[in-house]
Symmetry: C2
Subunit: 163 residues, 2 copies
DNA sequence: CAGAAATAGTTGCGGGCGCACATTTTGTCT
DNA sequence: AGACAAAATGTGCGCCCGCAACTATTTCTG
């Protein structure tokens, strides 16, 4: 029956990890919904497009780790239907689709970020010291590292200042 | 437009946090599926029942933070249909439903934990120092703390030794 | 250069989830 | 006691997701 042993401190940390994610995520979604804004998943599509100006579906998929390829297709369907992004033909590869942010998409990004950021500040920044944040980044960076060497990282949350 | 500012180290930590969760979660689900076992959500139902012997739907909902009340109803429907738990009438309150683990449920728990634990070891324990684990638990514990004072914590991952 | 193999993206299908509402039972106030 | 609010689940409905299969291209191979 292979008695699996995981030392107490690790187990506690693991539980805290899962809890923290559930709690914060929930609050972000609630805040967005309360402000009549789309779910966080839309942000994950819009931001990389703002950051890169133009991306192919596959490249976007690389940055949105939380959803499957087909799921992304339909997520983009919806975001496009809302007029926030536009699909364009890809030059060098007629199989591919390029995505670009529309003006409305950029505007939506500007409306979503403050709401998103507010929750990050209240639930995350507010209870973590600067030094701790650095350690967190380091530790969790290792946990999230794509095992072997390939598997790209993911999830971008704004790098250059959004306007 | 309220230029929201979040210091770099926090943003980096936040990204690492989301990435780490996506990555580990994905691996756990993959490992369970590969072993022909139910998804992690089932574990979240089975374990608290093993831990508490008997729980009402509402009490269970308190511990399974990642799903809504109605979602839990149907999750339990499935787990019950699989013969892993049993719904029983609650004595003092005829509105309520008690849940108890069946022998098959306990057995399933014993099959799932090693697979689950294996991933925790490989992806989490293996890349974190003991000291770091304690700091993680502390820091993320604060992040996951239910804001005001009520809102119970959640997610249990085995406390007494499973057999 | 023909044809197999690989790649990019989409779609059919079945399943799971959350919201809002319905149902049954308790608790309270008068 | 009688009525009304509150609490504990379950249910109808529509949305979203992932898997596997499909189409259209491109790339590799002999």
């Amino acid at each position: 029956m292979a008695r699996v042993e995981i030392p107490e401190p690790y187990l506690t940390a693991w539980r805290a990890f899962l809890n923290a994610h559930a709690a914060t995520t929930e609050h972000v979604e609630a805040a967005l919904a309360a402000a009549d804004l789309p779910p966080l998943a839309w942000y994950d599509v819009l931001w990389p497009l703002y950051d890169a100006r133009r991306l192919r579906m596959g490249e976007l998929a690389t940055r949105v780790v939380t959803i499957s390829r087909s799921g992304l297709t339909r997520l983009v369907d919806r975001v496009e239907a809302a007029g926030l992004v536009r699909r364009e033909a890809c030059d060098h590869d007629r199989r591919g689709t390029d995505l670009v942010l529309t003006a409305a998409g950029k505007a939506m990004l500007r409306r979503m970020w403050p709401v998103y950021a507010r929750v990050i500040e209240e639930r995350f920044v507010a209870v973590i010291g600067r030094r701790e944040a650095e350690e967190l980044a380091d530790t969790l960076g290792r946990v999230g590292a794509r095992a072997p060497a390939a598997e790209p990282t993911a999830s971008s949350v704004r790098r250059p200042a959004l306007q």
